[in-house]
């Protein structure tokens, strides 16, 4: 019996030691450049973080699929300057602290370029942690101001919340959507608040008034009846709903039969049709997005064809952002004249190069400013019978 006790004590102690050594000591070679044996190309680790599970999983999956497709196309064409692009995604479930530890895991694994986070909040939490590393962060879809604020090496592919909010305000006037506007958004989400604030700041410029503002947050996102009743009673002619698709689906289902004014959302509405229980509830809903899969541009059509063939689904704006981000990295590598032989000052040269490039991506022509933002156009779309089509003013 005594021997048994001693043995278990020993085993327990060993377990703890092994646990700490295996999990916690760094391998010490995170700066190394591994070489792909099959092609002889140097591997360039591009790490992304996003919700691959949870309510926002559709955004994470879309961005990841777009980025992976782009990397495959580039690698199939022989890589870039002797580099093979490796895209790895870690799941964050959309939570900020998970995103930080996912970033840490990427760095342990030898990440060279970061795609930041898919959502604004998670990117914002990574940006400060990444500042010391000087690594280039090019987030495909984090749109809030705070997401890339305070880090000179952080850039984004999508347009920023203020730009999108201004565009939304302008479209309310240009398309005569109404002069009395209600707003419904998530008060604890950077994306939603950013859009609301920039939208509201332009109300005088575009001649509409905001007659009702209703909000929800993560702990109250089950029951929207109070908010829907208030909006219905406010006499608004259109309701601006800058939120994500999961909550938008819930809003539309609960509002069915109670609210008969047009609902107008932004790029967060992407994927709405896969989330809503009855697609007819989405009829007439408007969405602002810089990407349309039925655009006649040849590069867009090539992307849509390749994406559809690979994933058996039509790409949304998030997939296009992910796809464009990888091509922007390729362009930056070429501009900086980095190659597998010459990786001196990799981070600095990448950051400098990204400000100098101009690429024509699937979401339009892009070039980056010093503050990390990109300039683009947005289009107004409408949901009709389970499809997304360009909006035609009535």
């Amino acid at each position: 019996m005594k021997a048994f006790r001693k043995l278990t004590t020993l085993a327990l102690a060993c377990l703890m030691v092994v646990m700490s050594v295996v999990g916690l000591v760094s391998c010490g070679n995170s700066n190394a450049w591994p070489v792909d044996e099959a092609t002889g190309l140097t591997e360039l680790y591009i790490g992304g973080i996003g919700p691959l599970t949870g309510d926002y999983a559709n955004y994470g999956e879309s961005v990841k699929q777009g980025a992976v497709l782009a990397a495959e196309e580039i690698n199939a064409a022989g890589g870039v300057n002797g580099f093979k692009l490796i895209v790895n995604y870690e799941d964050s479930q959309g939570a900020a602290d998970s995103a930080v530890s996912a970033y840490g895991k990427h760095m342990d694994d030898g990440m060279k370029v970061s795609l930041g986070g898919v959502l604004s909040g998670e990117t914002a939490s990574v940006v400060a942690a990444a500042k010391d590393d000087g690594i280039l962060i090019l987030t495909p879809s984090a749109s809030s101001v705070a997401a890339i604020d305070g880090n000179d090496a952080a850039f984004r592919v999508c347009f920023s919340d203020p730009d999108q909010g201004y565009a939304a305000a302008q479209y309310v006037r240009d398309y005569n959507l109404g002069t009395k506007v209600a707003v419904f958004y998530a008060s604890d989400n950077d994306y939603c608040v950013g859009l609301y604030e920039s939208f509201a700041s332009k109300k005088d410029d575009y001649g509409f008034e905001i007659v009702e503002v209703q909000t929800f947050d993560d702990s109250t996102k089950t029951d929207f009846s109070t908010q829907i009743n208030a909006i219905a009673a406010s006499g608004a002619e259109v309701v601006f709903v800058p939120i994500y698709a999961a909550e938008a689906a819930q809003f539309l289902t609960q509002a069915e039969g109670k609210l008969d004014i047009p609902v107008f959302g932004c790029d967060g509405f992407d994927g709405l049709l896969t989330k809503i229980s009855d697609v007819s509830d989405a009829n007439g809903v408007l969405m602002l997005t810089p990407f349309t899969a039925d655009s006649p541009e040849t590069n867009v059509q090539a992307f849509v064809t390749a994406y559809t063939a690979k994933y058996n689904t039509i790409p949304d704006q998030f997939a296009a952002d992910g796809y464009d981000a990888i091509f922007a990295i390729k362009a930056a590598l070429e501009k900086a004249e980095l190659s597998s032989e010459d990786v001196e000052n990799f981070n600095d040269r990448m950051v400098a190069a990204i400000k100098d490039i101009t690429i024509v991506g699937t979401t339009g022509e892009m070039s980056w400013q010093d503050d990390g933002n990109v300039a683009k156009d947005a289009k107004l779309m409408e949901f009709v019978d389970g499809k997304v089509v360009a909006y035609v003013a009535k």
Partner: protein, 357 residues
């Protein structure tokens, strides 16, 4: 003489303190030599904060015997107050002054809230008190969620449910580690000393029989409030350091779920056992974050099963016997023995015998 020294070293306080100090010494070596992986660097701050939170919650739950489900609320009061102070003084004060100062202010703010929450505790018992502390925690969360700073030099730093922008005071773990070590050692030392002191005995007397304690002249009101205030003070200090390690902090994180997580640590480590709380904080934090990460999808599932099984085992007589045989005290004793290479004396044999009986 040697035996005397040994007995002195083997007392609980010294053992726990030196164990923790040793742990942090190893951590320091790893962190400052650059040997530590990112994953380790990332868990040091939350684990240290969990240790402080669990040990301070143990004061309320283990020593005073009152169920508190609002500890995270105290933490967030300290966090938001202290970090705001730190943000306001970031350009004026050097870090070595700024962080301790904001910790004290945050701690005092949390203690003040602890006093307010402690007052109903005087009238309520058991589950009624538990639900009031839970309610207070949720109220704190809700109130902070609706606070905005719109004017003055700090405009925009705190924006309601979007949280507190702590980018300007963000400090990496190399900068925070000294403060963490001091805080953890301080809290453990204070709580262990309370336990041994007259006050500690009075608090535990209240737990075991309030009426009898009152009859012997113990000021129940005073001690109950003292425990709540002290626990909140430490939780607030931990919160301030926690806030410095992230770039954005939302009060929604500190709801009842967080409090329950802390309660689990306390119960897991043993009620009223300080070293138990420390070990449980480390194990229960690393379990889902590092050890179980390999199981990815099944991570939290495995965690919940471990939780249930351990609770069921803790009531199992045979398991209790086994657990007593591998107690940490003995582990330390064995390590101590091998390190000093002192021959096994009769005293050891006696001690061992006494422990086993």
């Amino acid at each position: 003489m040697k035996t005397n020294l040994k007995q002195k070293l083997l007392n609980k306080t010294a053992l726990t303190m030196s164990g923790i100090a040793l742990l942090y010494l190893v951590l320091c070596l790893m962190v400052y030599s650059g040997m530590a992986s990112r994953q380790l660097l990332l868990v040091i701050l939350p684990i240290s904060c969990h240790i402080v939170l669990a040990v301070s919650l143990n004061l309320v739950v283990g020593f005073l015997g009152e169920l508190s489900l609002g500890h995270a609320g105290f933490m967030s009061v300290g966090l938001f107050t202290g970090c705001l102070v730190s943000i306001a003084t970031v350009d004026v004060l050097p870090m070595a002054v700024r962080i301790p100062l904001s910790m004290i202010i945050g701690g005092v703010a949390a203690a003040a809230v602890g006093l307010v929450v402690g007052l109903p505790a005087l009238r309520l018992k058991g589950d009624y008190l538990a639900i009031v502390t839970l309610g207070c925690g949720e109220i704190i969360k809700n109130v902070i969620n609706n606070l905005h700073i719109k004017k003055g030099p700090l405009a925009g730093v705190l924006d309601g449910a979007l949280g507190l922008n702590t980018k300007t005071i963000y400090s990496n773990i190399k900068q925070l580690l000294p403060f963490l070590i001091v805080l953890v050692l301080l809290v453990v030392w204070v709580v262990l000393n309370i336990q041994k002191s007259r006050h500690g005995r009075a608090i535990m007397a209240i737990r075991d029989n309030r009426i009898a304690a009152e009859a012997t002249g113990i000021n129940v009101t005073y001690y109950k409030l003292m425990v709540f205030i002290l626990a909140a003070f430490f939780a607030g200090m931990a919160g301030v350091l926690y806030g410095h390690g992230f770039s954005i902090i939302k009060s929604a994180e500190f709801g009842y779920n967080f409090s329950i997580e802390l309660l689990i640590i306390v119960v897991f480590g043993g009620m009223g056992k300080v070293h138990g709380s420390v070990i449980a904080a480390i194990l229960l934090y690393t379990l889902p974050e590092i050890v179980l990460r390999e199981f990815s999808d099944y991570r939290m599932l495995a965690y919940s099963i471990v939780l249930i099984v351990i609770m069921l085992l803790s009531e199992n007589r045979r398991f209790k016997e086994w657990k007593d045989s591998v107690s940490l005290k003995k582990l330390f004793k064995k390590m101590f023995k091998s390190k000093t290479a002192v021959a096994v004396t009769e005293t050891d044999a006696k001690e061992g015998g006494a422990d086993e009986s």
